[in-house]
Assembly symmetry: C2
Homo-oligomer: 296 residues x 2
């Protein structure tokens, strides 16, 4: 699975990025989903979308406020359902401290922190607060009574939830060692797609006794390799990034045949593509696309 996000010039542009992920599905998996513990939530909302318009654009329409509300409402709803499932299927009362790590769809870090706060507040409302701090701040009835959409827009609410979840947030965001204690760790995932559809599910790290050292070493190597690739990213000045995206806009709005400016002006070196990367060489007659590869 892969995704590329590019945004129009403006506040959203810097949240763009690209990522890819591959998983091998099989028996004795290191990452083992907890059967039945999954919740979904869907709603019809224009929070973030690509309009079907006469002149197409790669950039989505982002409704700032609607998209924050849709995301936070979704995390609240799927967590509620997830907790109900845990009680029903396992007679287990879960709270956010039951998970050693939590994975969120991440539009930007600040929103993930807000979402984490929303979950902490959900625990508080369920009467579970041993894992929270400073809960005296959560008590003003205003936060409990007003519609949650108002909470999501409120600085006071964000501040309060950051405070009650501060200790857990610190624990979960500080670097933690990848060592032989990985086995048995429990993970919670929140998945979100605009429009909107969301899911929450959990997994355990299962390491077979005899393979403990090997598997932990492999996980560590894999994580280090990912970080090493990230470190190879180029630092590009925002002005130059805008120019590069303008080249792309020009390409998409040009009639065929069209030879990309990056190719014509030998910008492939500046773009510093990885070895063996495929890139667009030419848009030929009838908009057929021809690709070539960087050397190995």
């Amino acid at each position: 699975m892969a995704d590329i996000a590019v945004y129009d010039a403006g506040p959203a542009r810097c949240t763009g990025g690209a990522g890819a992920f591959a998983a091998l599905v099989g028996p004795n998996a290191v990452l083992s989903f907890e059967r039945g513990l999954r919740a979904t939530y869907m709603v019809d909302v224009y929070d973030f979308y690509k309009p079907n318009q006469p002149v197409p654009s790669e950039y989505p329409v982002v409704e700032g406020q609607a998209s924050l509300q849709a995301y936070l409402t979704a995390v609240d709803e799927v967590y509620k359902l997830f907790c109900q499932k845990a009680e029903k299927l396992r007679n287990e009362v879960v709270n956010i401290s039951d998970f050693d790590a939590m994975f969120f769809h991440c539009p930007f870090t600040r929103l993930v922190q807000k979402a984490f706060g929303v979950l902490a507040f959900a625990d508080f409302k369920r009467g579970l607060s041993n894992h929270l701090t400073d809960t005296i701040r959560a008590k003003p009835s205003a936060f409990l009574l007003q519609p949650r959409e108002l909470n999501y827009m409120s600085r006071d609410f964000a501040k309060m939830t950051a405070q009650i979840s501060a200790k857990l947030w610190a624990q979960k965001t500080e670097p933690s060692p990848i060592d032989n204690t990985l086995g048995g760790k429990r993970l919670l995932f929140f998945s979100y797609g605009s429009g909107a559809a969301a899911a929450m599910f959990s997994a355990r790290i299962l390491i077979l006794e005899k393979d403990t050292r090997d598997q932990c070493t492999q996980i560590k190597q894999s994580a280090n390799a990912a970080v090493a690739l990230l470190e190879e990213r180029l630092c590009v000045h925002p002005k130059r990034y805008n120019e590069i995206l303008a080249l792309r806009e020009k390409l998409l709005s040009s009639a065929a045949p069209y030879r990309p400016e990056g190719v014509r002006n030998n910008l492939t070196d500046e773009f510093s593509l990885f070895p063996n990367t495929y890139y667009l060489m030419n848009i030929g007659d009838k908009y057929r696309r021809y690709y070539t590869q960087t050397s190995s």
Copy 2:
């Protein structure tokens, strides 16, 4: 799964259509795939595609000759692989008479008949011809020696393959009863997507002894219901069909807000939508789409 196909004015327009399909996956399935008997074939070809162009169009670019060749090459290749798999996994030498029914991706009927002929000729080349007729016609060395792409364009080749497969084609295209003899029937599927990717796989109709009558009745009812729906299609004069598609082109090229002409002029009756059908009521500000339903 669903698909809608609309084409630009010209010879391809009349091959447009729409279809939808739903399947329940579970144990003791009536339609049971034959494990391992599947073959795939992929090739990079611009036979049929939707170009990424400055002014978008719903209509694909169809390269007539390339698309026929790609389709027929694909059916030839996956059948070859399928036969190899059957020999390797089951020590079984299959030929097209081993299947009680064959399902093809169908751009238009004539191409399916050509594909069926290509499979018959493949059997003939493998030395299997007891199920074929008039095989004397397949013998001219021309058909065996020249590149298959030339065969696919040749009227003589099409005529010859239609002749050698005539008996089987008649058997498989004449109406056949859906009765208690369905159990055990063997089916072959050919799936094709432009670009191109193709697959061939087989299945058996498995009916549990105790449920024979019920399941056959259900299959029959389901098939009859599908035919009944097809019979409800409207017969529209090609001139009117062109006008209706022109309305759609206008809608897609109009700036928002836009109220579809079909709605403005109350054409929903002429279009004779099924009860409870959702249809586009309005394209609002920022190209947000609003739908409504016909009455039940």
